[in-house]
């Protein structure tokens, strides 16, 4: 009772990174609160899930296994969570801010009348004083999220309602094994007790999901382009540099909106958060919402024709110049001086 529950996203029998990141965070929060970390797997043929998640510190895994749970549709998954949460009364529930999590979490929160905070960038435990009511709440979940296009950051709490629900974007939290020998309890849920046949009203006629080819999160070097790159054509230079350096190409929201790069490459609060060894920002002005997604990079190089671009303030090296001029020189030197 009153534990932390993480909803697991499962793709072809594999727990997605976002869920492992949430488990890592959930484990730390559970430690702080002195409660257990639980996870719920809803899907089909889930026998392999336990051994994937126990090393992340899961004490109890709920398994709801039925062929009809895949592919994902909202209502059956929502019903399992709603009924499980009513029964187990977790104090905190965490979901990924993915297409699935953002579809599922609000539905569940509405049914339970529990507060939900989307796209949190940090989760902490702390107290809250409601001065009007003269009440102090101990050990609430601080749900910290950017608001207003990323110009401010708000700390949200849910004093009265449980569970305190939050979604977190992929890559924002770090994924870390808690103890490779850690093991927990497996609790199989009786499907019929949690969902009704009426929940299966949406029929998936066709599904065409590509495996992700872009892996920004694990790239040691990211060459990222902004609106200042100017065109999709100029972006090719960035691909050349990334390929030479063994890295990946990222983009700012402005570049994605302008159609220079695909959405999956977007870095920032509404895209992916990255922490590479080296981040080369090309023609990126440095809107707050972009910087928030890359500020933990070990080293930042900014290439910009504007010597006063805001991003320069957080860069280790600032090269004042155009992409067309600078990038080919970098490629040339690197190719000549490495094997």
């Amino acid at each position: 009772m009153n534990n932390i529950i993480v909803y697991l996203e499962i793709e072809d029998g594999v727990v997605r990174d976002i869920s492992l990141e949430l488990l890592t965070k959930g484990r730390a929060l559970a430690q702080q609160l002195g409660c257990k970390l639980e996870a719920v797997a809803i899907g089909y043929q889930l026998d392999n899930i336990a051994k994937q998640v126990f090393p992340y510190g899961v004490d109890k895994l709920y398994v709801c296994d039925d062929k009809r749970f895949i592919p994902y549709t909202t209502l059956p998954h929502a019903s399992v969570l709603i009924n499980l949460f009513k029964q187990e009364k977790p104090q905190i529930a965490l979901l990924g801010a993915t297409t699935i999590g953002r579809d599922l979490a609000p539905r569940v929160s509405s049914a339970l009348f529990s507060g939900l905070t989307a796209d949190c960038t940090a989760l902490e435990i702390g107290d809250y004083e409601d001065k009007k009511a003269g009440k102090v709440y101990k050990n609430l979940l601080y749900q910290i999220r950017p608001a207003f296009g990323g110009n401010i950051v708000a700390t949200i709490v849910n004093p009265e309602c449980r569970p305190q629900m939050a979604t977190v974007r992929e890559g924002v939290m770090k994924k870390e094994i808690y103890d490779s020998k850690h093991t927990g309890e497996i609790h199989k849920l009786q499907v019929a007790k949690y969902v009704s046949d009426k929940d299966f009203v949406i029929e998936v006629l066709e599904r065409n999901i590509e495996k992700s080819k872009i892996n920004l999160k694990s790239a040691p070097v990211i060459v990222s382009g902004g609106y200042g790159v100017g065109s999709a054509e100029n972006f090719k230079l960035l691909y050349e540099l990334a390929e030479a350096l063994g890295g990946e190409v990222g983009a700012s929201r402005a570049a994605v909106d302008a159609g220079f790069a695909e959405h999956e490459r977007q870095i920032g609060q509404t895209g992916t958060t990255v922490r590479p060894k080296l981040y080369i920002a090309c023609g990126i002005s440095g809107q707050i919402q972009h910087i928030a997604g890359m500020q933990e990079s070990a080293m930042v190089i900014s290439i910009n024709s504007d010597p006063n671009a805001p991003i320069n303030k957080i860069a280790d090296y600032v090269i004042t110049g155009t992409i067309e001029e600078v990038v080919p020189k970098m490629i040339k030197y690197y190719k000549k001086n490495t094997k």
Binding site: D119, V300, Y333
Partner: protein, 290 residues
């Protein structure tokens, strides 16, 4: 075959074009400095509604928004583009609503409509980016939901087929009516204003706006009933006061801060060969590269 369609829309500050004066010195948002616009994805939703209206004769499109008196601007905008009726939900009882209280208020308003077949709304609003109100309204109405819709492929008497745009692909799903659909920014853009409709509805106004205009205009609205935009306060909808506004909002804002980044001491380089070469050399030597 015809459908009763409701579009949920929101007037939002244009956070995409945040200028230097968007934030006040104390770190709060200077709403006055930001233009108020029709939430972009709600326009995509309106377009889907208008397409259904043109395809199925006799269908109606009602646009519902919750907000201050000024939010009637987006209702007129909807009429200019082809919607049939505009509804504004407004009043101090709704102030301080989080997504849950907002979805509750909208649901109470939707229940006043005779029969609703399809509710359309944008995937999310650009001021909060939460994407919560759509699914929460669906839950409260007891409707199934289809999120991230890019196109409505087929509608029959009792079913709808929708193409969804997901992170890494597309999905085609079929669901029963009534249903709520949230529409993605990748869907077709909204048609422009129609000149004739813009002339026709130029003076459309809510009761609050008419009051501001004074008595001179009373005749106009008596003789042209279609110019009356409906405005509902909390008293006009059947509701439980515990679920509205601040009371009905389980989430509370503990604090709001400006984002401050640690400023680094940066090394300034030019684009000449010597500078670039020495930088690359350093990166290779300290194993940042290779």
């Amino acid at each position: 075959m015809s459908f009763n369609i409701v579009v949920l829309a929101k007037q939002v500050p244009d956070t995409r074009n945040v200028g230097k004066d968007a934030m006040k010195a104390d770190g709060t948002v200077n709403r006055a400095a930001l233009p108020a616009i029709f939430n972009p994805e709600d326009l995509n939703a309106l377009e889907q509604a208008l397409r259904l209206k043109s395809k199925f004769e006799g269908s109606t499109v009602k646009v519902l928004t919750m907000g201050p008196v000024r939010a009637a601007e987006i209702l007129r905008e909807s009429l200019y583009r082809g919607a049939d009726e505009g509804y504004l939900l407004s009043g101090r009882e709704f102030a301080g609503s989080d997504t849950l209280a907002t979805s509750y208020a909208l649901t109470c308003a939707i229940r006043k409509f005779d029969k609703v077949d399809i509710i359309l709304c944008g995937r999310q609003a650009i001021d909060g980016d939460t994407a919560q109100v759509g699914p929460q309204v669906a839950e409260k109405m007891g409707f199934p939901q289809i999120t991230y819709a890019e196109d409505i492929l087929e509608v029959t008497e009792n079913s709808i087929t929708v193409k969804r745009r997901l992170e890494r692909g597309v999905e085609i799903v079929k669901g029963p009516l009534p249903i709520l659909i949230t529409v993605n920014g990748t869907a077709a853009p909204c048609r422009p204003r129609n000149a004739k409709l813009t002339m026709k509805y130029k003076h459309a106004a809510t009761p609050s706006e008419k009051q501001e205009m004074g008595a001179d205009y009373t005749d106009l609205y008596d003789t042209h009933p279609y110019l009356n935009l409906t405005e509902w306060g909390a008293n006009d909808i059947e509701h439980d006061p515990r679920w509205l506004g601040l009371n009905g909002s389980p989430t509370k804002v503990k604090k709001i801060e400006n984002i401050v980044f640690t400023v680094k001491e940066s090394k300034r380089l030019t684009a000449n060969d010597a500078d670039i070469d020495s930088l690359m050399k350093e990166l290779i030597n300290n194993h940042t590269l290779g």
